[in-house]
């Protein structure tokens, strides 16, 4: 009816009152009085599974048919299906509840990104290289967060060891790529190193060679999966 543009400063001031919250003592009182101990401590599985079901349904709607998803699995950076592949990877991580499996998936995604870094760098594809580096950094960060949240020494060790392998692999790649690609590789190395240190400090054990990690399905596999196969054929 009437334009409120001329009152935008007043409206902004009024909106700033949105940050007013009820005193904490009332919130505590509500929790103590209304929420039972079980409810306070138990995870909300209903909500949890509902989120995952919703994600799956929405993902299928957004991503179209399952065929597209399957077809995207072998896609490479720059391909039209590549963004779908990356989203599928993220969704798989999101819907995985088990911390160990989740970390594995994230490290595996990091491993895929690492191979994409290597391929993009070798082929002088700067945009793809930068994108793959960002993906790698994100995957590593995700894996570290999950490992830390798990509080499990095994998971932390596995993450630490995998990242150590990543660093070594990246150092190797750095020596064989053109100069202009080296900075991106260095960024990935920094992400891996930083992650490793973060996990190490969180773990406290400093274990860098846990034998149980030797079989980690998240470890670097030169040509160990379909993504790597496609790279390996080049």
């Amino acid at each position: 009816m009437k334009n409120t543009d001329s009152y935008s400063d007043i409206i902004r001031s009024l909106e700033s009152f949105q940050s007013i919250e009820a005193p904490e003592r009332i919130r505590q009182k509500v929790i103590n009085h209304w929420i039972t101990v079980d409810e306070k401590t138990k995870p909300s599985y209903t909500s949890f599974f509902a989120v995952r079901i919703a994600v799956i349904v929405l993902s299928l709607l957004v991503l179209g048919t399952a065929g597209v998803v399957v077809a995207s699995e072998n896609s490479k950076p720059g391909s039209i299906l590549y963004p779908i592949k990356k989203k599928v990877e993220q969704i798989k991580v999101f819907v995985t509840q088990d911390k160990a499996k989740k970390t594995d998936l994230q490290l595996n995604n990091a491993n895929n990104s690492l191979n994409e870094i290597k391929d993009s760098a070798k082929e002088n594809k700067d945009t793809e290289l930068n994108n793959a580096t960002k993906e790698y950094e994100r995957d590593v960060k995700g894996a570290i967060d999950t490992a830390k949240k798990s509080g499990s020494e095994d998971i932390l060790n596995k993450t630490q060891n995998t990242l150590q392998t990543h660093t070594e692999k990246l150092e190797e790649v750095k020596t064989i790529v053109p100069t202009q690609a080296q900075q991106a590789i260095q960024n990935a190395i920094n992400a891996s190193e930083k992650g490793k240190e973060e996990v190490k400090s969180n773990n406290g054990t400093g274990n860098t060679n846990n034998s149980s990690n030797a079989n980690s399905n998240a470890e670097i596999k030169e040509n160990g999966n379909s993504q790597n196969d496609s790279h390996g054929k080049k």
């Binding site: 009816m1 009437k2 409120t4 001329s6 009152y7 400063d9 007043i10 409206i11 902004r12 001031s13 009024l14 909106e15 700033s16 009152f17 949105q18 940050s19 007013i20 919250e21 009820a22 005193p23 009332i26 919130r27 009182k29 509500v30 929790i31 009085h33 209304w34 929420i35 039972t36 409810e39 909300s44 209903t46 909500s47 509902a50 989120v51 079901i53 919703a54 994600v55 929405l58 993902s59 957004v62 989203k87 993220q90 969704i91 999101f94």
Partner: protein, 192 residues
């Protein structure tokens, strides 16, 4: 895209008001506790501005609102409207009852107290005290519209439903309130 999915999935998946209400109506205290926590801040803010920023009164009335909601939950019909509108309606009536019982308010004292504690939240965008004084000069209806519209981000339709008025009337109240606030703040700036 994932963030979009997460955002919408979380909206979709959160125990909806409907589910919680149904459980609460069956006597599930946890379900009601979750509804309570969900609407606590919004109802507190609404009451706080209606009782002239008197924190103790705002706390007492907020608790009373939810107590009434729990006692009358059986009368709430899910299909007739949303819980949000219903609880705001209870808050509105509870504040009116409060004023019937206790008409006098030490406004200046409360404004001073409130502006001191809110200054940190609001920063220096505009003098908090001036806004609070200006807000207090609004009619009760104008104050409600301004609170619900700009602090709770409700639509004109939602506000109209709660206050049982037409949307045009809400827009008119909003416009007059903003105009009045502008004039008062202008005067404040000139005289300070």
């Amino acid at each position: 895209m994932l963030s979009w999915i997460k955002r919408h999935a979380s909206k979709f998946s959160k125990k909806s008001d409907g589910v919680l209400i149904k459980k609460a109506q069956a006597g599930d205290r946890n379900a009601f506790g979750n509804l309570y926590l969900k609407y606590l801040d919004a109802i507190y803010r609404y009451v706080f501005f209606r009782v002239n920023f008197n924190t103790p009164d705002a706390e007492d009335i907020t608790e009373l609102v939810f107590q009434k909601a729990w006692e009358n939950l059986g009368t709430f019909k899910n299909k007739d409207g949303n819980f949000k509108a219903w609880i705001y309606r209870i808050a509105h009536n509870t504040v009116l009852d409060h004023y019937k019982k206790q008409r006098t308010t030490k406004l200046d004292e409360y404004i001073e107290d409130a502006s001191e504690s809110l200054e940190e939240i609001i920063g220096n965008k505009m003098k908090t005290q001036a806004i609070l004084v200006a807000l207090d000069t609004l009619s009760d209806e104008q104050k409600q519209v301004v609170t619900m519209r700009f602090m709770e981000e409700m639509s004109h339709k939602e506000i109209a439903h709660i206050l049982e008025k037409k949307e045009d009337a809400i827009r008119a109240l909003q416009y007059r309130a903003l105009k009045q606030l502008r004039e008062l703040l202008k005067t404040y700036e000139e005289y300070r």
